[in-house]
């Protein structure tokens, strides 16, 4: 909900001609910075990347000679790998920086690291950081493009884009779909980015979770708010589960995993309230038996592995759009 959300730019002729839109943003810091036209363009570009990725010979050379640095202040093997593969498939030179963070001087390290990396003239830095707003701060200190790979509990824009692509491929559209986002919404950057994206694309968004996991003002971000899973899943087209941090289910916020699973874990009984053809999503890594039953996670309605595949495609699309100024390559 940063105030710098952009509105759709009119093209030069002032018409709505469906010409190739030129993605002109320098950074991808959050979904709040994107308008529906830009979101659609990224999703369309990602579709093409899916085809490329499925070919035996996957190489594309649009980013040949460009340098991509993955700067992860928080460990995340899967997101980092996804960005690494995405960059390499486009021909970029990809470097993974392992950052040791001292708990006291995190911020100092961030600015110092930014200055150091900037001097090495990279073309794009992909950043994950535990503090909300940290990626935006870093983007102000470097000359190259910056991609937010997750900042605190703020945003995780490529996750929302890959979720949207997965939904669109399964349902044919985003507009008008009922999407229930369930679990620890308060501590989830995935939920925030998804609410912003789905809201912008006119999906009907719901959040479902226990009251102490629903953040203040969430009613302004989602169309509907539920504390009961059965009501919240009723007639949903998409059920999106969120990861529950184990330490939060040991009496701090939730009394026990057992109780959480009983009321908010996705099992067959609760899923039966959603539409018959509803798909089940999870950003991973999953806690089977905590927020989702193993039979559902691995069952026919789960699109969780497809999400992982779409992750690479979306990140390819984002990197290429940012580094080629939206020029079709």
């Amino acid at each position: 909900m940063t105030p710098n959300s952009r509105t759709a730019k009119n093209n030069a002729s002032g018409t709505n001609a469906p010409t190739q839109h030129h993605f002109s943003q320098k950074h991808l810091l959050g979904i709040s910075h994107l308008n529906p036209v830009e979101i659609t363009e990224l999703l369309d570009r990602a579709e093409a990347m899916v085809d490329i990725s499925r070919q035996p010979k996957k190489a594309k050379h649009s980013l040949k000679g460009r340098t991509q640095i993955n700067l992860f202040f928080e460990n995340s093997t899967r997101t980092q790998s996804s960005f690494e593969i995405a960059g390499k498939r486009l021909g970029a030179d990809v470097l993974n920086m392992a950052v040791q963070t001292s708990s006291v001087k995190k911020g100092e390290t961030l600015i110092d690291t930014a200055a150091t990396l900037n001097a090495m003239q990279p073309d794009v830095i992909v950043v994950r950081h535990a503090a909300s707003g940290a990626v935006e701060l870093l983007s102000q200190k470097v000359a190259c493009s910056v991609v937010n790979a997750g900042d605190g509990t703020h945003e995780h824009p490529t996750q929302a884009l890959l979720d949207a692509l997965t939904i669109r491929r399964n349902k044919g559209r985003l507009n008008g779909l009922t999407v229930a986002i369930c679990g620890d919404v308060a501590n989830s950057r995935v939920a925030r980015s998804n609410l912003l994206l789905l809201g912008a694309m006119n999906a009907r968004t719901r959040v479902v979770g226990p009251k102490n996991m629903l953040p203040r003002g969430v009613e302004h971000m989602a169309a509907e708010v539920f504390t009961d899973m059965e009501e919240g899943l009723k007639d949903a087209d998409v059920v999106m589960m969120l990861r529950l941090q184990h330490e939060r289910a040991s009496g701090k916020m939730i009394p026990s995993v057992r109780e959480f699973y009983h009321f908010y874990g996705l099992d067959e009984r609760k899923l039966a309230f959603a539409k018959e053809d509803a798909i089940v999503m999870h950003p991973g890594p999953m806690n089977r038996g905590v927020e989702i039953a193993p039979t559902i996670a691995d069952g026919p309605r789960s699109v969780i592995t497809e999400q992982v595949e779409m992750g690479v495609a979306v990140r390819m699309a984002v990197l290429e759009a940012l580094l080629t100024n939206g020029e079709a390559v």
């Binding site: 909900m1 995190k106 707003g133 701060l137 703020h154 308060a186 203040r216």
Partner: protein, 429 residues
């Protein structure tokens, strides 16, 4: 050294009496020798006169909440640089918070502050002393010895004592020495990892929120302990309407209660944080606009007694961090008066009522002779041009720090001249 001066053609504003009329004021030997309302008498031969050209002459401001970095963090602010900032802002006396390194929790350190201030400060620096040793909220400091050394109030500065029994003991013991307690009310458990006001904005930014109750719950405890002990109690800074209601109610039965507010909470709201702007990261956090309006109402109706700068210098290193990791606080000595005059220009409060919250009321709390335009009072005065237009720029600051929450603000009204004990300590060039 000139020791006698008559300022003529002045709009004299005396917050102690509420008088606001043209007149002249006669300074001699560092004191106000006389105040002439209406036409000035002929100046005696040899006495210098100065034409105020209709500008306001008022008592210098008494700021009850000023942090510096001396001793321990002189790179942030020294007593000298803070005093220069104070003089430029029309603050002729300020209460120095004990949050230094080491903490001002010992008579010898109070003595150190007094001697350093004597040697380096243009304005009157009044030391406060910690309530608890090391600001740890556990063991009482030596109230009697600290008072004897010159401490004007007891406060744990930016720290808030969590233990109810510790507070009860502190209030009782402070009453024993007839010393005021100034307490920052904050429930550290409710605050937790919170870094800004809890609400839709904090949710959108992914920042942990601080609810109003983190202020009102400890305030309720303090007000009951104040009743119980009879101590002179001052809530250092409140930020929400509910807290103001509680203060108003408590005042109905207890005359020894007062409350303060910082200029930031009177003029700014949480929207100013925008996209993680750390200069607006404050304690308590900036609240929503409707709460700010309730704070203005509280100041106007007298529920809130004291307006202060909460001057808290921070180095850029501490502010150039992700929001949650950045330091709290903003400087304010040089912008306190000018920013507050917005309320006068908007006709939200009268000039005399506003000035009273920055002169007479704080002087009463601290038991010092200041805040009045009357015979025998110290000649600590300011000349204000109410309509002087200027733009706040960090490069103009006398303060060693730049962390202002009013950068680029367009303000009307400024201190033109500041006198301390009859001597000019600042003149607008």
């Amino acid at each position: 050294m000139k020791n006698e001066l008559i300022i003529t053609n002045a709009r004299l504003v005396d917050p102690a009496t509420g008088k606001d009329e043209l007149g002249a004021i006669w300074l001699k030997n560092g004191k106000i020798k006389d105040v002439h309302w209406g036409n000035a008498p002929e100046a005696p031969e040899g006495v210098e006169t100065r034409d105020a050209q209709g500008n306001i002459i008022a008592p210098g401001l008494v700021d009850t909440r000023v942090f510096t970095g001396e001793p321990g963090h002189e790179y942030r602010e020294t007593l000298e640089s803070a005093s220069n900032a104070a003089a430029a802002g029309g603050v002729t006396s300020f209460l120095l918070m004990p949050d230094t390194s080491p903490v001002i929790d010992d008579g010898a350190l109070v003595d150190f502050i007094i001697r350093r201030a004597d040697a380096t400060s243009k304005v009157k620096i009044l030391p406060s002393a910690a309530i608890s040793k090391g600001l740890e909220g556990k063991d009482l400091t030596e109230f009697g010895l600290l008072k004897a050394a010159g401490a004007k109030a007891f406060t744990d500065g930016n720290s808030s004592i969590q233990s109810t029994s510790m507070l009860k003991n502190a209030f009782t013991y402070a009453k024993n020495f007839e010393m005021p307690i100034i307490h920052h009310v904050a429930d550290s458990e409710l605050i937790g990892d919170g870094v800004m006001n809890a609400g839709i904005l904090s949710t959108g930014l992914g920042l942990k929120g601080i609810p109003h109750e983190a202020e009102t719950i400890p305030l309720a405890r303090d007000l009951q302990l104040a009743d119980m002990t009879g101590v002179r109690y001052h809530a250092a800074q409140i930020s929400c309407g509910k807290a103001a209601e509680m203060i108003a109610y408590a005042k109905q039965r207890n005359q020894h209660i007062s409350a303060g507010i910082s200029i930031n909470h009177l003029c700014l709201n949480e929207n100013d944080i925008g996209s993680y702007r750390t200069y607006f990261k404050l304690t308590p956090p900036l609240r929503a606009e409707d709460e700010r309006q309730k704070m203005v109402e509280g100041l106007r109706d007298g529920t809130i007694d004291i307006l202060h700068s909460a001057h808290d210098p921070q180095d850029t290193e501490g502010k150039r961090r992700p929001f949650a990791e950045a330091t709290d606080g903003a400087i304010g000595l040089e912008t306190l008066l000018a920013a507050s005059l917005r309320l006068v220009h908007e006709e939200q409060i009268s000039l005399t009522a506003l000035l009273k919250t920055m002169t007479y009321n704080p002087a009463q709390l601290l038991g010092i002779d200041a805040g009045r335009l009357s015979k025998g009072a110290p000649a600590d005065l300011i000349e204000i041009d109410l309509n002087y237009p200027w733009v706040v720029s960090e490069k103009d600051f006398k303060s060693r720090a730049q962390n202002t929450a009013f950068e680029h603000a367009r303000l009307f009204g400024k201190v033109m001249t500041t006198w301390v004990n009859g001597q000019i300590v600042f003149e607008q060039s």
